[in-house]
């Protein structure tokens, strides 16, 4: 059965088309979800794409957090639904308290747009299980407010629990604390990443095909939960 991965469009989303395309190239079925519709239409996972939801009015992700679809996604995420937030999606996940910390203005105040090397760590999440722990990948980064901050205790906790799932290497584009580029929640089903894996899924337009691993990871994770769900009496929603 083809896994259905929802991609949310908020007013101001830019990368929903690319995210849906990445889902299809990975072998899943992309389902377009609308910010004003609280129904998830039976999707198996959700991607919150990059862009400028609600024009970044007030603060990145602050208003999207209260979108009808986000309230449903937040509940489902706490119940185990795999959710990947990319760039603005990462900001939304932090604002929704599904991930700790916050994304602030880049320390140098410049918008950064370049191909960026990352090192994958703690590779057991729903979105990174197809990578090897320590694997280096190259995907684009493009943000003005991508500087990850959290208090020292939270940062220590994230590191101790292996929840920093990607770090910037060969340069930190925005001043993120401890070079954090991506983190996950305790359960490993919610991942926020500042660079853009959905822009590195085809040789023609990306610097590599490394981004595809995030989407194939989700499909593999879902195949596992589906089988497990049947064995344990239908935990799969």
């Amino acid at each position: 059965m083809t896994m259905r991965i929802g991609v949310v469009t908020f007013p101001g989303s830019l990368d929903d088309g690319d995210a849906a395309r990445a889902v299809r190239i990975a072998g899943g079925e992309a389902v377009h979800l609308w910010h004003g519709d609280p129904n998830l239409h039976g999707v198996d996972a959700v991607v919150l794409p990059g862009g400028f939801s609600y024009g970044d009015a007030l603060r990145c992700g602050a208003i999207a957090r209260f979108a009808p679809v986000m309230e449903t996604i937040a509940d489902a995420a706490r119940g185990g639904l795999p959710v990947l937030g990319i760039c603005n999606g990462f900001q939304i996940l932090c604002e929704a308290h599904l991930l700790p910390g916050a994304l602030t203005r880049n320390q140098h105040l410049h918008f950064r747009n370049r191909d960026q090397y990352l090192r994958i760590g703690g590779a057991a999440t729903a979105w990174t299980n197809n990578f090897a722990d320590g694997q280096e990948i190259l995907i684009p980064v493009k943000n003005g407010e991508g500087c990850y901050v959290a208090d020292e205790r939270t940062l220590d906790e994230l590191e101790a629990e292996g929840r920093v799932v990607a770090r910037y290497i060969r340069g930190n584009p925005n001043g993120s604390q401890r070079d954090i580029a991506a983190i996950t929640n305790e359960a490993g089903n919610v991942v926020g990443i500042m660079p853009h894996p959905e822009h590195a899924v085809e040789a023609l337009t990306g610097p590599s095909l490394d981004g595809l691993g995030f989407f194939t990871s989700a499909l593999r994770h879902l195949a596992g939960t589906a089988a497990g769900g049947q064995l344990t009496g239908g935990a799969h929603r």
Binding site: L58, V149, G175
Partner: protein, 88 residues
């Protein structure tokens, strides 16, 4: 009509690059005695009737500020006429 003012500031331990950029520009104005600038946001909420500080606090906590990185304070703004009378 009653106005509640919410001031949102980055927490002291959070780097404020915008404030820093302004501080760095001050010598070009000939100002050398300023050691730090921090930039925040002022929001004015107008209530139709009596000002409701509890509601204002909830709005500030849930939406206007991100408590992870920002502090906020709220206060009822006295009408300008009253303020003038008080100072007279």
């Amino acid at each position: 009509m009653a106005r509640v003012v919410v001031d949102v500031m980055l927490k002291p331990e959070i780097l404020d690059p915008q404030g820093q950029a302004v501080a760095n520009a001050l010598p070009r104005l000939g100002v050398s005695e300023v050691s730090s600038v921090r930039i925040g946001r002022r929001i004015e909420i107008e209530f139709a009737g009596e000002p409701d500080l509890d509601t204002a606090r909830e709005i500030a906590d849930k939406l206007l500020a991100n408590p992870v990185i920002e502090d906020f304070s709220i206060r009822v703004e006295e009408p300008a006429g009253d303020a003038a009378q008080m100072s007279a």
